[in-house]
Symmetry: C2
Subunit: 392 residues, 2 copies
């Protein structure tokens, strides 16, 4: 077993260097180590990643438009992987699935008005095509499921299998399981990917040292597009998409039983009750570059809409304001697979709003690529160089 933090002096070579130790990077490292690949993760501060802000809802349909896209199939594939993924991770740590963050609360989608209720009927029909369980409910049943919600809501859609994962518990569990399997971690900024000819040969760190490896996995989230070294076509086209969430805490017994999602006068809002009693409220979507400061207007709107759904939140403690940068690709779908432009460079980023949901399929896929040489079919549409191949 390795210690968590080590200096770079004793880590100079590996089979694979994973740049970024958020949920995606830590999961890839764990899965690779299970296959006896020698992995080093490098990250100056994993908590700056989007996972640290995220609510971690496992809700692949409600995040999508009504089109049967490859992304929907990827989301559903990863959703199906989640129970076994959590069970295996928990088993390696001698824990249960709750300890690694999975919480089986189900989700209630709340209709704000009659038009919303009609939209939820369409969503219900759409979900049935993919065997996603959901039940349309009226106002009385809604109050039965969630008595603390505002009076007068006309009904909603109960999705009993749309669960949640606490990304902070998940990342911690992935890092611990990785360490047990021999994953080494270096706390440092990567300044460039080293190349020789048309292949990677490792990464340079801010302290002047080098990690040598024939394979570099780029899992640096919103920062993945900023790394120096690779030729232009090999750098993933990701941009930061700012998101803010709040963590509120009400005294006494928990008031929410499910993840609650809804729209208040058209503004999407969610309330995710954690096992520790906090409620995660989210999320803004802002294009603001790498600025991670809390914007007053976004906090205001989250508090306003959250109180509209759950009035007693006005009395809650505002325990945390968190701001993260989602990695957005040109089509907001992930970028997973070998770079076409630089040998040994593998990309795993661009997960946008679905990083936690897509963690199992991404980690399984990249480990399969590195151990067996082939990516699962479901990931083929998400090749990182797909935008290069489309005529401008």
């Amino acid at each position: 077993m390795q210690s968590q933090h080590r200096t770079t002096a004793d880590v100079t070579t590996a089979d694979v260097v994973v740049v970024g130790a958020g949920v995606i990077g830590a999961a890839i490292a764990w899965r690779c180590a299970q296959r006896r690949i020698a992995v080093v993760t490098v990250d100056p501060d994993p908590t700056r990643g989007a996972w640290h802000t995220a609510a971690g809802m496992l809700a692949p349909v409600t995040e999508l438009q009504y089109t049967e896209t490859p992304l929907l199939h990827l989301n559903l594939d990863s959703l199906r992987r989640w129970p076994a993924f959590a069970a295996e991770l928990a088993a390696e740590l001698g824990a249960d699935e709750r300890a690694v963050g999975l919480r089986r609360t189900g989700t209630v989608l709340v209709a704000w008005d009659a038009a919303d209720l009609a939209a939820l009927r369409d969503l219900h029909a759409f979900g049935q095509r993919f065997d996603i369980a959901s039940i349309l409910i009226g106002g009385r049943d809604l109050r039965g499921l969630e008595p603390a919600l505002a009076a007068g809501l006309p009904g909603g859609l109960h999705a009993p299998d749309d669960h949640q994962v606490d990304p902070r518990l998940l990342r911690d569990a992935l890092a611990r399981a990785g360490r047990r399997r021999g994953v080494r971690h270096v706390t440092a900024e990567v300044t460039r990917v080293r190349t020789t000819g048309d292949r990677v040969e490792g990464v340079d760190l801010a302290d002047g040292t080098t990690l040598a490896a024939p394979v570099v996995v780029l899992a640096a989230g919103a920062w993945s597009g900023t790394l120096a070294g690779p030729p232009p076509g090999a750098v993933p086209a990701v941009r930061p998409v700012k998101g803010q969430t709040l963590r509120l805490r009400l005294p006494g017994t928990p008031v929410l039983n499910h993840v609650v999602r809804g729209r208040v006068k058209g503004n999407p809002i969610y309330l995710v009750p954690r096992a520790d009693g906090r409620i995660v409220v989210g999320a803004s979507t802002e294009e603001a570059g790498f600025d991670r400061s809390a914007r007053a207007g976004a906090v205001y709107e989250l508090l306003r809409d959250a109180q509209s759904l759950l009035p007693e939140l006005g009395e809650a403690e505002l325990a945390e304001i968190s701001t993260g940068l989602r990695p957005g690709s040109p089509d907001n779908a992930p970028l997973v697979g070998a770079s076409g432009a630089l040998g040994g460079l593998v990309v795993a980023t661009g997960h946008y709003r679905n990083g936690v949901l897509l963690t199992p399929v991404t980690a399984d896929g990249v480990a399969a690529l590195l151990a067996d040489g082939a990516l699962p079919d479901v990931l083929h549409p998400f090749a990182p160089d797909r935008f290069e191949r489309i005529p401008a």
Copy 2:
């Protein structure tokens, strides 16, 4: 000159122990040290004091009801002391008044509607009785003074001499000036006031040591009523009154020239532009015991009303949420003077919303009491045992 933090081992006796090193305690210590009194201040964490949250407006009339009370005269007396107090403090530090926190911005009281404007006319007339300069202005002049305010406001009242003090700069300056004069500070919790017969003899600290002194000044703000040791009648009757403020930061050049106060649909709100570009927004008033957590509903209301007056605040960074506990007495007026029930105990607390405004008169008064044996007349109505003398 003494070092700021010392262990209790080398501080065992003094002429005066001041319990609490907020703006009131630090100012009393400085004023006493100027008169060659050996002073020790004791505080486990001065930043928990209400001053750290406060906006520091010097606005004695607008905080009051329309009655000519002793408190109004005290407020006006302290307001008149402020320029010389700031000048003297600055001179001792080789700085100017801005460095000790005084910022001469004046205040604009904004009317939200016609009824508000009528109320400001009354306030204008009331202020004239006390030679407080103020000018009634219409909507056009209001936009001229503060172009960034929301469109359509009908007018307001310009109080050119109602300035502001940054309490964080002030407390820092008072502590530094005190140190230069020989004030010693101990970072510790006071567990009880030691008494012998009917006199104080010092204080016991949480680490088991004792500070011996014939005089103890109780300037512990909202915590002043919790100290063990004195007989019941000698403990000041103060309760904590929670207040929340926000600190917002807009990029670029400052958008506000004055302190801006107003009511939005009846809810009072103020915006205080600091020299460093931040805008302090306040303040809630809540009776919640010693709970200092941020309440979501209060943050929401401050953001809502602040944006109503200054719409571009929605784009501001929410840089800080601060919660403080104002020391409120039974009549919300301060408690300053010798305890009638315990010899050597002097009280300086209960300043409620006016601690910064009342710092000069309180510090001058307590120093006069300790050096000359008499409190200024203006403080006589604020004897700490005044409630004991009123028949129930």
